[in-house]
Subunit: 326 residues, 2 copies
């Protein structure tokens, strides 16, 4: 691993023209990683282009520098002809969208913290002990002796905060806190990112949350909690499925709940189901039975049919799995 890291640092040190690419449906860690490496390499006098083949969610633009990230249409990779393409936070080629078409024609570096990475680059630094890819970029930048100012510190911090659920997930380990302390000493303000990401809910999102709570039900002596939203609910409050992104976590946060299920029908007749568990129930088993996938604590599946019937059947199936355990 250390060799891959040093190999990447050496390669970037020598390169003059670099394309930094993020993944489709970019999250805070990806945007932070792309922008931090872009700004770091720029500050070393290199010719750098940052690009993501996806529309960046509007709330990220409170960080002004996000405007430097180009979309796929804005750049011609062959015309730019980079010495190296660096791909950040993407576990497989399909995650970079249309940029995957050009990867064979250039030297590719992959830096990622997903254990599922397929090692699709020429040099791959993959280390799932990192909570965020942004921490790996921080190491690269520091090794390249990039000078961190207040802006770069803040931008680099964003990925660490968002990928650790603002330090609430179990991946918030010692290195996370040391890295954040170091970025704060360089000028980053952690509360800025929290406000930007967490204090930006529209009133309609609250109304959607209220509807979800109204539909909330407990089963199995309070160990199973579930709720649902229909196409009609989303329409009524002028919301998209992005607005209900955190709802399954809200359901799981109820005292005594082991399994949370959230059903949502954003396209009529297409029901997405998110499962979460707290400590012991393997929700991936239920999801697999239904044709979906995931992990023991977080899984999901999409089913076609009538929302009400699907809720009834899936709750029944989950309850049966509870009975097997007890």
């Amino acid at each position: 691993m250390a060799n891959e890291f040093l190999n990447i640092v050496g390669t970037l040190n020598e390169a003059q023209k670099i394309l930094v690419v993020g993944h489709i449906m970019p999250d805070g860690d990806d945007i932070s990683s792309v922008l931090s490496l872009f700004l770091g390499l720029k500050s070393l006098g290199k010719q750098v282009v940052a690009a993501i083949d996806w529309k960046i969610p509007s709330y990220f633009f409170e960080i002004e520098e996000v405007k430097y990230i180009k979309n796929y249409e804005e750049i011609d990779v062959y015309d730019f002809n980079p010495d190296i393409i660096v791909i950040l936070d993407a576990s497989s080629p399909d995650r970079v969208g249309r940029f995957s078409d050009v990867l064979n024609d250039f030297k590719v570096i992959v830096i990622d913290h997903h254990a599922t990475n397929t090692y699709f680059g020429d040099i791959n630094w993959v280390d799932s002990t990192y909570a965020a890819t942004a921490q790996m970029v921080l190491r690269v930048n520091k090794e390249l002796q990039v000078e961190y100012d207040e802006r770069l510190s803040l931008i680099n911090l964003m990925g660490i905060e968002t990928d650790t659920g603002f330090f609430r997930y179990s991946n918030a380990n010692e290195r996370v806190f040391r890295d954040v302390a170091s970025l704060i000493s360089l000028g980053a303000k952690p509360d800025f990112i929290a406000r930007m990401i967490l204090e930006n809910r529209r009133l309609e999102q609250f109304k959607l949350l209220s509807r979800m709570i109204d539909n909330l039900k407990l089963e199995c002596d309070g160990k199973l909690a579930y709720s649902y939203l229909s196409k009609k609910d989303y329409e009524e409050f002028n919301c998209t499925d992005e607005d209900s992104g955190g709802f399954v976590g809200e359901i799981r946060s109820i005292k005594g709940v082991e399994v949370a299920i959230f059903f949502y029908e954003y396209v009529k007749g297409e029901v997405h189901i998110s499962f979460r568990s707290k400590e012991w129930f393997d929700v991936s088993k239920v999801a697999f039975t239904l044709g979906g996938g995931g992990h023991p604590r977080a899984a999901g599946v999409t089913l076609n049919g009538n929302l009400e019937e699907i809720v009834r059947d899936v709750v029944k199936l989950t309850k049966a799995n509870f009975d097997l355990k007890s």
Copy 2:
């Protein structure tokens, strides 16, 4: 300041019988501080009693050691006859409840991070640059060469997490992250505390939240948001005013909102009003006008009267203050 710190460490080092006292209405930082100093001094072979003159909220008992904290009735201070009383996280004598009656008869150490501290002890270490009193206790314990195990690390961590709003407040500075990294290296798990405090809401609390959202209204082009709950709402969902503790923060988190107001009538005819602002509106001015108090970003007041009328009048008053600004 350094002298007070060393003076305290020296005094504790020499003392054999020590009473550690927290404050009324104890929060996570206070319980963490009391228990961390209690366990630290115990481990050095001293005779220590920890006490708080208030009922400790039930969810803290997931930390088993909380049972060691005695209430006022359980101890006779004159009988125990401590060499020293250490008061933690309390800014004035009235904050320690009935223990305030005995302070004149013993040597008292005060350790606190509130800028408003009245220095009521014989030795006072007060430093508002600390985000949590638990960090000051960590320093005392380390200087006394207390050995930290997994339990003490976790217990000491709790105060830092809760008093920084789980690292979301602006007091989450470099020292906070360094202290947390150090406690994690000693065995603490930060996600445990987050789950204990944040994932323990009863279903009824959710239903109360839903009712609050249903009552939510925007004024001043979305810059002012307010909501309310009546005595009847609390009764309907079998909730107390503790269950609505975070609601004003939820209201403030709406995109574009500068001022949030939450009115709640837990005792009939007694309306508590919490004000919060994001960036520039001085809510303490409105609270002062009404006879209350607070800070520019957080203030409050209690008024007697009809809930509906009070909501109407206070919203009107706040709107008038908005007009003055724009």
